[in-house]
Symmetry: C2
């Protein structure tokens, strides 16, 4: 059936060992011999059997990625798909493939963990931090298995890459203050999430620094209905002049709430958010957002992982800067154009 290293060796009149050296770019093969073997490999379109290589060398040349299940349900952010693309691309540049698992529930996380790690299918792992339970994390740490998290974990301190949540929230808040807003409310995700905590911190730092009331923070879940209900509550009971929607999953809910209460944005309420989206320029009003460098984040994760796998010294974390994109939803002047 398939052509093997032995076939190549026979045809080249050398031993398997020599062919193996050529395949792996190892030294100790004569230039002539090497050329001859390479030619044969090319001609026969020979591809070494990955299982055999893996078994013998204990390396799979795969990395695993565990991210949340991104069905059509919650595609209000391009975060995970974009991240995944960046990871895959960067991995490919180092001849690594990506083995994917998506997790919808706590349970899924565990099965994803098992299936992807099962039998050394991967040499390293990139994991959406919020996706990971303490049990699995502990196991990985125990085994000294190379992995990096995207986003800070709730549980452990480990190698991770993240965006500057604190700085982004702070700067966005400062921007709102500079527009004259004094009463600002933050609609935030679940309080236990580190990303949420960071964004809240940035928000409060800016408010405090401006000697304003520390600002009201209302937590909610990432469920669309919850977000809307909470937003309705905020806007009905104690409406601020600016609403900082601290995550993409909450944006549509907030917009819907404003629409229902016939609150016009930005005239009656400035609305800004964290995490940009290609559609934001086309919503009406267009949405002001903190833009995260998602591609860079993915690349950084892969680089960190490879360094870890190579047992090179690595910084425990890498925090990437974000950008404020000002659009109509925060600027009364522009909204009418």
């Amino acid at each position: 059936m398939g052509i093997t290293i032995q076939n190549i060796a026979d045809l080249a009149k050398v031993s398997k060992g020599t062919v193996s050296r050529v395949i792996n770019g190892a030294p100790g093969v004569g230039a002539e011999t090497r050329k001859r073997i390479l030619k044969l490999i090319e001609e026969l379109d020979y591809q070494p059997n990955a299982s055999a290589q893996g078994l013998a060398s204990r390396r799979s040349y795969n990395i695993g990625v565990i991210i949340p299940h991104t069905g059509s349900y919650s595609m209000s952010t391009t975060y995970w798909p974009t991240l995944l693309t960046a990871i895959t691309e960067k991995a490919a540049s180092q001849d690594y493939n990506v083995l994917l698992s998506t997790a919808r529930s706590e349970e899924d996380v565990d099965s994803a963990y098992r299936s992807i790690l099962k039998g050394k299918r991967v040499d390293g792992l990139i994991v959406g931090a919020e996706q990971f339970g303490e049990k699995q994390l502990a196991k990985l740490l125990l085994k000294d298995f190379p992995f990096v998290m995207v986003g800070k974990s709730t549980a452990f301190s480990h190698y991770y890459v993240d965006v500057d949540n604190v700085g982004g929230a702070r700067r966005m808040t400062e921007y709102l203050i500079s527009l004259g807003h004094r009463k600002i409310t933050m609609l935030a995700g679940p309080e236990i999430l580190p990303s949420v905590q960071s964004r809240v911190r940035g928000f409060q730092e800016a408010m405090t620094k401006a000697q304003l009331d520390p600002g009201r923070v209302i937590y909610t879940t990432y469920q669309a209905e919850d977000a809307e209900k909470t937003a309705l509550q905020i806007l009905r009971e104690d409406p601020p002049t600016a609403l900082f929607v601290a995550a993409a999953d909450l944006v549509l809910g907030a917009l819907e709430a404003a629409r229902k209460l016939k609150i016009r944005i930005p005239e009656q309420l400035a609305l800004v958010t964290f995490d940009d989206h290609p559609f934001y320029p086309y919503l009406s009003p267009s949405i002001t957002a903190v833009k995260q460098p998602i591609h860079e984040l993915g690349r950084a994760a892969v680089e960190m992982l490879f360094a870890l796998m190579a047992k090179k010294p690595v910084e425990k974390k890498e925090i990437l800067p974000v950008e404020i994109i000002v659009r109509g939803s925060s600027q009364p002047g522009d909204a009418m154009k």
Copy 2:
């Protein structure tokens, strides 16, 4: 280091062969023995080494997926991420993992093809049809390698799943006609793509059936700038009363063109599109669209692939029905709400 089948065998006082049978759920093991072995496996958290299994059994329990690179550049559709999720989920339900490759250019396709297929890393392949060149396809066919395409290929006739492009376009056109539109233009993607051809066909069928002028079709590329330029041209030179934007990648360009020409939607122009998006309800106006069953498509692809891998008889194609979602962009009455 890792715990092996031999360890289990020793502890259970049986041979490797028996343990292997248990692992694979093969018959011919006494109930007692089986139970004892399973208990040991559980206790020791034993996971068979995938490479060794792969080498011995010639199966990897991975399927490969090659889809276009979906960076932040073109995230105006949730098609690929959603499809990927559906595939991964369905595969996981059968204990298969997904090995991912994304391709940005023609060249990438080839390297993706090589790297993913390299050395039997996968037992089957799901491929975004438009992503695949004839050379690679021919090779796969030649090797009799199990693969299914998502979408119809330009090149060959092979197993594929797709949505009902013809029917969707036809029904959407009929809907526009029922609203009283007589002059309808379709802004379509590259003419060589089968999906584009099908949508054009559905459009023209409906126009002809209604005894209308067959309708104008203008082709463009999926580049945002091209789409906008082409839309501008249509709307400036010979504006229809309804514009059928036949792909998601063209929508933002069309909207931008209308905005620049100060053409109000839906009052002066009805705009509808193919492929729904979670943001469409929130654009202003909200967008009427043909909704594709992307999750089902992904599941169907996996099912077809597994049938192929099992050498079961399979229909050469499976076409899934689509749905028309009516929103503001096609209904003057609603647009003001």
